[in-house]
Amino acid sequence: MTETDRVAEAVEPSSGDGFSRRALLGWTGGALVVGAAAAGGVATAVTGTEDKSSTPALGSVDFHGVNQAGIATPVQDRLHFCVFDVITDDRAKLVRMLQQWTAAAAAMTAGKQIGTGADSGVPESPPDDTGEAVGLPPNNLTLTVGFGPTLFTKDGRDRFGIAAKKPEALAELPAFPGDKLDPQRSGGDIAVQACSDDPQVAVHAIRNLARIGFGVVSVRWSQLGFGKTSSTTPEAMTPRNLFGFKDGTRNIAGTETDRLREHVWVPAGEGPAWMTGGSYLVARRIRMHIETWDRTSLQEQEDVIGRNKGVGAPQGATGEHDVVPLKALPEKSHVRLSHPDTNNGATILRRGYSFVDGSDGLGRLEAGLFFLAYQRDPRKGFIPVQQRLAANDAMNEYIQHVGSALFACPGGVRGADDYWGKALFA
C-alpha cells in the first residue's frame, strides 16, 4: 500500500492480515450514506450503485437480453464456475436471493460495485462489495445461471413447487464407460458461470454471490479455468488445449444465428415456457494424464486427435479451417468421432477452459479440460456424442471424466423487473 492509499484508519484497528478494510474509508466525494446500508440488513446488498471507479466500464457485455450472456458471447480468457446447493426449504428466501443475485450480477457486469459499494456505507458494517474488483473494468464479465435437476426434485420430493416445470431434457446424464465421477465435483442445484478476461473480476463475482447467498445456498464445488480451449469467434485464432492441440475449429460462432437457433437456443413451445430462449449446459471436469501424453510420440498424438499439431489442420488437409476429410482420419481419432457429420448432425457449442489445480499427491499435474457445452437438448447434443467417444475415442487412454453436471439455463433477464428464474418461479 502506498501512503496515499492510507486514507484513514478510522476508528477500527486493523484486521489481522495487516490490512484494514477501514483503511479504504475515504470520505471524499460525499459518498457517506448514513443509514442506508444497515437498514435492510443483507437485503441491501442488491442494488447497483454508481460506478465509483475512475476507470470507465470498458468492455462490458449487456446483461439483459432475450438469451443469457456468456453462451454465444465471445469466449473470455478466464473462468470461475461455481455450483451451489440450496440449503433452505423456504421458497420465498430462494426467490429473494435470486433477485439479489440478479441485481448484483447486473451491477458487476456493468462494472459497478454492489449495493453501497466497497468503501461506503456504515463504517461499523462490512461493505456491500468486497472491493477487489474496484478500479478494474469488467473485462467482458458475463454471469450465466443454470438450474440443476435436483433443484426441482430431490429424493422424489418436489422441493419448491416447481417439479412440474422440470424439463424432460434435464434428465440425469447416463453413465458413460470410463467415467470416474467424484460426487464432490458433480451435480448441484444452481450453477453460475463467471467468465471475464480478468481472473480477479470473475473471482470477485462468484465470491460476492456466494456471500449474498449464505444461509440460502452453500457452495458445493467450483472450478477456476484459464486459457479458453474453444472459441465462439472462429475467425480468431483457435486456442490450444493442454495437449498442445487446436480443437473446436468448427465450433458455433456467436454470429451464426441460424446455427445457434438450430443447435443452442431452446425455441418457444419446446419444453416448459420458462426455458424459451434458454439452453442446456453440460459441465465435465476432464482430467488429462499430462505426463503420459507428453511421453507419446508425435505421430501417435496426431493420430489420437486426428489433426496435425503445427497449424492444426485435420489429417489429410492443409489448413486449420479446411473441410475435415473424415474418411482420411484414423477411425478412433477424436476429431472423427466427435464431428457432427459422424453423429447425425449432433452439434454443441463449446466454451471450455483448461485448468491446472496445482499437483496431485503423486506429483502429477492436477490438470485438464473443464468442458462446458451448451445445446438445445442434451439428448440430441452431448449425450450421443459422448456415448460414441466414451466407447471408441483413442484419447480415452489419456483422459478421464472426473466431474459431471447438467443445468437448464433459462432465457435472458429481460429488464429491470426480471430476475434469474422469475419465469420458473412465477
Binding site: 484513514a8 484508519e9 476508528v11 484497528p13 489481522g16 470520505w27 461499523e124
Partner: protein, 379 residues
C-alpha cells in the same frame, strides 16, 4: 492473519468497542486531512519517538512514519495491555494514520520493529472530557446487562475450573478429562472480553501450533495435550494447572473493568462466530481432546446472549435483520442439539466431512447477517 502471530479477531473487535460509541458524523469525517493534527510518531529500529505525550480525551489521530529498516507495527495500550488501537505491517519508509477514540487516563504507545515482542514503549497521558453522545436507554441497559453477564459467567466457571485443576493436581486423568471442556465453556462464551486482557489469552488459551518461537506454552491446551496423548500428568502439568487458576482469578478481578459499548457487544458477537468459523468448525481448536463442539456451543451461546440484549433496539431499526438472526440462531442451536451427549457434546472426530460442512453452512448463514449488527447499533 498476522504474518507474525495469530491473534483472535475478537480482540480487535472489542478494542474498538472499548472506546467507541460515537456518532457516525464524528467518526466519518476522518481522512488524511485530519493528519495535520495527528500526533506524529517516528518509528525506528531502536526508538519510538512520540511527538506529543499529552493528548485530549476523545477523538485522536496518530500518524506513524517508519524510518527503520524493518516492518513495524504500532499499538496504543491502555493499562493491562488492553489494545486501544493498532496497525500492523507498516513497511520501512511508509506512514500510516490511525484514528481512534480514547478516554482520560494513562496509556502506552508501542512501536514493534519486526512486529515482535512487547515493543518500544512511551507513556502518554490523556486528560479532559470529550462530549459524549447520549446513549439510547435500551442500549445502556444492554451494556449493563452484558457486564453482569460477563461477571456472572466468570463466577460460574470458577468452580468448574477448580474441579479441573484439582483433578489435574490429584493425577486423576479421567476426572480431568471430564472437567476439561466444562472448565472452558464460560471462557468461550465471553471470549471477546476474556481476550482483551493482554497476556491472559495467550497464557490461558494458546494452541501449540500458534506459539511464537521462545513463547512458553501454558494454559488449557498444554494440559489437554498431556491428558489426551500420553495420559500422564506430571509435575509440569500440575504447575500449569496452578497457573491457570491464578490467571482465572486475575480475569475475575479484571473483568469488571472492561469498557463495554453497544458496538463492542455487537462486534463481539460477530467475532464469536468468526472464532467458530476459523477454529472450531475445522477441529483446529481442540486438536487432542476433540471437544470442539463444547467451544462451538459456548461461542454461539455468547453471541446469542449479545444479540438478545441488543435486540429490543435493533428490532425497531431493522426488523428484517432481527428476524433473520432469530431464525439462524434457532437453526444453528437446533443443529448443535443433534450432537448433544449427556451434559456435553460428542467428540468432533466422529463428525464427518459432510456434517462439518452442514455446520459450516450454518455458521456462514448466521455470521453474515450478524456482521450487520454493529452497523445498526452504531446508528
Amino acid at each position: 492473519m498476522s504474518v507474525v502471530r495469530r491473534r483472535p479477531a475478537t480482540t480487535r473487535a472489542l478494542g474498538v468497542g472499548l472506546l467507541l460509541a460515537l456518532p457516525l458524523a464524528l467518526t466519518a469525517c476522518d481522512s488524511d486531512d485530519s493528519s495535520g493534527d495527528a500526533v506524529k510518531v517516528t518509528a525506528k529500529d531502536k526508538s519510538c519517538d512520540v511527538a506529543k505525550k499529552d493528548w485530549p480525551a476523545g477523538k485522536n489521530s496518530i500518524k506513524v512514519t517508519n524510518k527503520g529498516s524493518q516492518v513495524t507495527e504500532l499499538y496504543v495500550y491502555a493499562q493491562g495491555d488492553r489494545i486501544v488501537t493498532e496497525r500492523e505491517n507498516i513497511g520501512p519508509g511508509t506512514s500510516a494514520t490511525l484514528n481512534f477514540e480514547i478516554k482520560a487516563g494513562t496509556y502506552e504507545v508501542a512501536c514493534k520493529p519486526g512486529m515482535k515482542g512487547d515493543g518500544i514503549r512511551q507513556k502518554v497521558t490523556v486528560a479532559g472530557t470529550p462530549a459524549e453522545k447520549p446513549i439510547d436507554p435500551r442500549l445502556a441497559e444492554a451494556v449493563a446487562h452484558y457486564r453482569t453477564f460477563t461477571n456472572t459467567t466468570v463466577e460460574q466457571m470458577l468452580p468448574l475450573a477448580t474441579e479441573f485443576v484439582n483433578a489435574v493436581k490429584a493425577g486423576d486423568v479421567a476426572k480431568a478429562k471430564e472437567y476439561y471442556p466444562k472448565s472452558r465453556l464460560g471462557w468461550e462464551t465471553i471470549e471477546p472480553v476474556a481476550e482483551s486482557f493482554g497476556d491472559l489469552d495467550p497464557q490461558m488459551d494458546a494452541r501449540e501450533a500458534d506459539l511464537e518461537p521462545g513463547q512458553e506454552w501454558s494454559g488449557w491446551h498444554r494440559i489437554e495435550k498431556a491428558l489426551w496423548t500420553t495420559g500422564q500428568i506430571t509435575d509440569v502439568e500440575k504447575g500449569y494447572a496452578d497457573r491457570l487458576m491464578a490467571d482465572l482469578k486475575t480475569l475475575q478481578s479484571k473483568v469488571g473493568t472492561v469498557d463495554i459499548t453497544p458496538t463492542s457487544i455487537a462486534n463481539g458477537a460477530k467475532g464469536l462466530l468468526d472464532e467458530v468459523a476459523t477454529g472450531k468448525v475445522t477441529g483446529e481448536e481442540e486438536a487432542f481432546s476433540h471437544t470442539d463442539l463444547w467451544d462451538f456451543a459456548g461461542n454461539v451461546d455468547g453471541a446469542k446472549k449479545a444479540f438478545e440484549l441488543l435486540k429490543p433496539y435493533v428490532a425497531e431499526k431493522d426488523a428484517a435483520l432481527t428476524g433473520t438472526l432469530d431464525a439462524e440462531f434457532a437453526k444453528i442451536q437446533g443443529l448443535l442439539f443433534k450432537y448433544k451427549q449427556g451434559d456435553g457434546y460428542v467428540s468432533y472426530d466422529t463428525v464427518d466431512e459432510a456434517k462439518r460442512k452442514e455446520l459450516s453452512d450454518a455458521v456462514n448463514a448466521l455470521g453474515e447477517p450478524l456482521s450487520k449488527l454493529a452497523g445498526v447499533v452504531a446508528q
